[in-house]
């Protein structure tokens, strides 16, 4: 949290912190130099985060102001008071793919290939690689074969997650994890379908001047909400009460 705390850390821990914050340091950097660089990086990261925070999130962060590390706990072991380690499985030995919608333009996918599938694929000399196929669907219950469009994202065998930019809003997406063996594609698993909202007003401007004016009072511009496709009508913007 501050220089005093950083100066109490060992050089190994300072290096670990420096790595965490992408600090570019020389191998022979002294502790005090590392501490200064880390402090600067942390301050920058914090300032960046605070710039991105809206009011609700800024206030909420203050609840957790008291903490043992405030971001500096490079060596704290994840154990309970009896020394029991809270180890968890990193993977679950199954082939699965999950798609989570983050906002109208981005989704997050995580996946896993079971050891058996992985062994089967990699044992084949013709194994060419993996990709994610992103399907845009016309309805939420449509199958991938009824997709209105799709695109592919090559992934490596060690990858396990990906943020996917969604080109369209007000639609549906589903993804598949696909292996290519000897030029033939094999769908390993597919995700559930996610509903992507418009992320903007659905109705064209001008249809109802009264409600447009009421809307202009609703804090449309101060909502700090990303809108997509520039759908906030000029007519409404012109009505915002200064």
């Amino acid at each position: 949290m501050n220089a005093e705390q950083l100066n109490q850390l060992s050089i190994e821990n300072l290096r670990r912190l420096a790595d965490r914050y992408d600090v570019d340091y020389a191998e022979d950097s002294e502790s005090y130099e590392l501490a200064e660089m880390v402090l600067e990086a942390v301050d920058e990261a914090r300032a960046e985060r605070e710039r991105n925070n809206n009011h609700a999130i800024s206030v909420q962060e203050k609840k957790y102001e008291i903490g043992r590390d405030n971001g500096f706990a490079p060596t704290e072991e994840i154990t309970d008071s009896d020394g029991e380690s809270f180890s968890i499985e990193q993977l679950y030995a199954e082939t699965r793919l999950v798609l989570l919608l983050r906002d109208p333009a981005w989704a997050y996918a995580y996946w896993e290939i079971s050891p058996a599938d992985l062994e089967r694929l990699t044992a084949q000399p013709g194994f060419e690689g993996l990709f994610l196929r992103v399907y845009e669907l016309q309805t939420g219950i449509a199958s991938s074969r009824e997709a209105v469009g799709s695109f592919e994202i090559p992934v490596q065998i060690d990858d396990a997650s990906w943020y996917i930019n969604l080109p369209n809003q007000g639609t549906y997406y589903r993804i598949s994890l696909i292996a290519v063996v000897n030029g033939v594609v094999e769908t390993l698993t597919q995700s559930d379908t996610v509903v992507v909202p418009l992320g903007a007003r659905a109705i064209e401007e001008g249809a109802d001047p009264t409600s447009d004016t009421v809307l202009s009072q609703s804090g449309l511009l101060t909502m700090q909400v990303d809108t997509y496709e520039g759908r906030v009508p000029q007519r409404i913007l012109s009505l915002i009460d200064e």
Partner: protein
């Protein structure tokens, strides 16, 4: 004659932090600070209004984790210990500042604050602060509602209706146990809404919930009155959209009231300022400096030298800000009334801990706003959600849109590179919990205890607070520890049930440690027809 209805909604929430395995545990201070700086001062403000016969109506959401902690004997004892430590420091501060009048008065202010806190906590509320909220609720001044059991950010769990149902029903059950009646409304954590959530809310007897403004404004059907009238979901559950415009003047630290130079500075604290040999006993072990709650400076503008806090100047500023808030409400409502041809309903929700903890003068401001609204002689009417729905049921049905009140309005805060790893594990724990109910549909005795505790651990790992803290970067190791702890505990039970290797000693230990929801029945995770649930959601847009 009323020109508008103002609905003030406070959401009180902290994650479940209780560590009996440690004699002192730093993060338990989150609760102690909230009791000292927010919950007791808010209750004091309500008592003052009652004493002066000023009527008021507020809606307060008290999260199940906060309720559970406030009722927990161990945490009650530890709060008393915390207050006693604060009082000891206050006495030392009275001595230390005896030759500095501007600080001495503040030391006295803190001495009086902590003395009142101790008295109210120990004697008035018999260690259970919830009694204070219940008191005002029973007199019709407060409408108490709940939120999801461990404050899970629900849109990221929408593929698991079992988890959504568990979060909602567990919360409702606990609310009934604590307050003796079912909640009519529900605070969806972080205003995190996805289409279809209302089905689960209705099934739990919930009649309304709150959303971010764009849930309503970006809905597929145009809301005729924006966020200024409640609307109805297609299944009949009512929605109140947040009025961002009126909220910003209170939330913003820069343009809003809390950033006024006369108000107490949040950051400057004697825990950082005074020599270690003096302040050492009142900060964290190993001489790690933390805030003590003793803050002697005003915000003072942007200059490096802050001036001493002046409570009288702050009180004057509170009165001016309360006046300004009421003036803005009156102006907004007047304009809206003309446009709408009927009385607008302005919904202003806030994090309860904003009042007092971050904005020290917040409870005083709230009291002052209520007094000034009373002085309008009915021009502005303070209302509760149920009162609004009774007087004027929603006239329009819309399907709200996916949204939250987080940055940029969606899930970014709870799903980014700092915290996305969490969901692989929490989702798996949920899937396994559902499998366990399939495999053991009717267990009691030891296996029943294991299953109930497994469900408890799943709920705990879903808290939105852990990914939130990871992103905030302020206490990452603790948040990581908590996710791993709960997933680990759950997995150990899951494996034990398969292998038959059950350690009752270990089970008893973690039951005592993570003792939230003692009456939880693991069957709340019973498998739902997810295809039907999913198809309901996918048909909406």
């Amino acid at each position: 004659m009323s020109i508008g209805k103002l609905m003030l909604v406070l959401h009180a929430h902290l994650p479940y932090v209780r560590h009996p395995e440690y004699e002192h545990f730093l993060e338990e201070s989150w609760l102690f600070e909230a009791i000292s700086e927010t919950y007791l001062p808010l209750l004091r403000a309500m008592d003052n209004l009652e004493t002066d016969s000023i009527p008021f109506r507020l809606c307060i959401s008290i999260s199940p984790t906060v309720s559970a902690m406030l009722r927990d004997e161990l945490l009650q004892q530890r709060y008393l210990r915390h207050v006693d430590t604060c009082l000891e420091l206050a006495e030392k501060e009275l001595d230390r500042t005896s030759s500095q009048p501007e600080f001495h008065n503040l030391a006295r202010m803190y001495y009086e604050l902590y003395s009142s806190n101790r008295l109210d906590f120990e004697e008035k509320y018999e260690r259970n602060v919830l009694k204070g909220f219940d008191y005002h609720a029973k007199r019709g001044r407060l409408e108490l509602i709940t939120t999801s059991a461990t404050h899970a950010f629900l849109p990221l769990y929408q593929s698991y209706p079992e988890a959504i149902v568990s979060q909602i029903h567990t919360a409702v059950d606990q609310h009934v146990e604590v307050f003796g009646k079912a909640p009519k409304g529900f605070w969806i954590p972080e205003c995190g809404y996805y289409p279809g959530l209302e089905h689960h809310l209705r099934d739990a007897g919930i009649g309304y919930f709150f959303t971010a403004a764009h849930a309503v404004i970006f809905a597929h059907d145009k809301p005729h009155f924006g966020v200024y009238k409640p609307v109805s979901c297609p299944n009949g559950v009512a929605v109140f959209g947040r009025d961002a415009a009126s909220a910003n003047s209170v939330w913003s630290s820069e343009e809003g009231y809390p950033g006024d130079p006369n108000y107490r500075d949040f950051y400057r604290d004697i825990g950082y300022d005074l020599p270690l040999d003096y302040i050492g006993p009142y900060i964290h072990e190993n001489e790690i400096r933390i805030p003590t709650g003793f803050k002697y400076h005003a915000i003072s503008g942007k200059q490096p030298d802050k001036w001493p806090y002046d409570p009288a100047a702050a009180r004057e500023t509170v009165a001016a800000h309360a006046e300004n808030f009421v003036y803005k409400q009156r102006r907004l409502m007047g304009k809206l009334g003309q446009l709408m041809g009927s009385t607008p309903v302005v919904t202003s929700p806030y994090d309860a801990e904003l009042f007092g903890h971050w904005w020290f003068e917040g409870p005083m401001w709230l009291e002052s706003v209520i007094r000034k609204i009373h002085a309008t002689e009915g021009e502005i009417e303070l209302v509760t959600p149920s009162q609004v729905l009774k007087e004027e049921p929603p006239q329009q049905t819309i399907q709200p849109a996916f949204s939250s009140w987080g940055n940029k309005g969606y899930s970014e805060v709870w799903l980014d590179h700092t915290n996305d790893w969490v969901y692989r594990h929490t989702h798996k724990a949920i899937e396994r919990m559902i499998d366990l109910v399939d495999r053991y549909p009717d267990e009691s005795s030891l296996r029943g205890r294991m299953l109930n505790h497994a469900a408890r651990e799943v709920l705990l790992c879903m808290s939105s607070d852990w990914p939130f803290i990871m992103r905030a970067g302020t206490n990452v190791s603790y948040a990581v520890r908590r996710v791993k702890e709960h997933v680990h505990n759950f997995t150990r039970i899951y494996d034990s049930l398969s292998s038959g290797d059950i350690s009752t000693e270990w089970l008893t230990k973690i039951e005592k440690r993570n003792n939230i929801f003692p009456n939880l029945d693991y069957r709340v995770f019973r498998r739902r027809s997810s295809e039907i649930e999913q198809s309901k959601i996918l048909k909406m847009r």
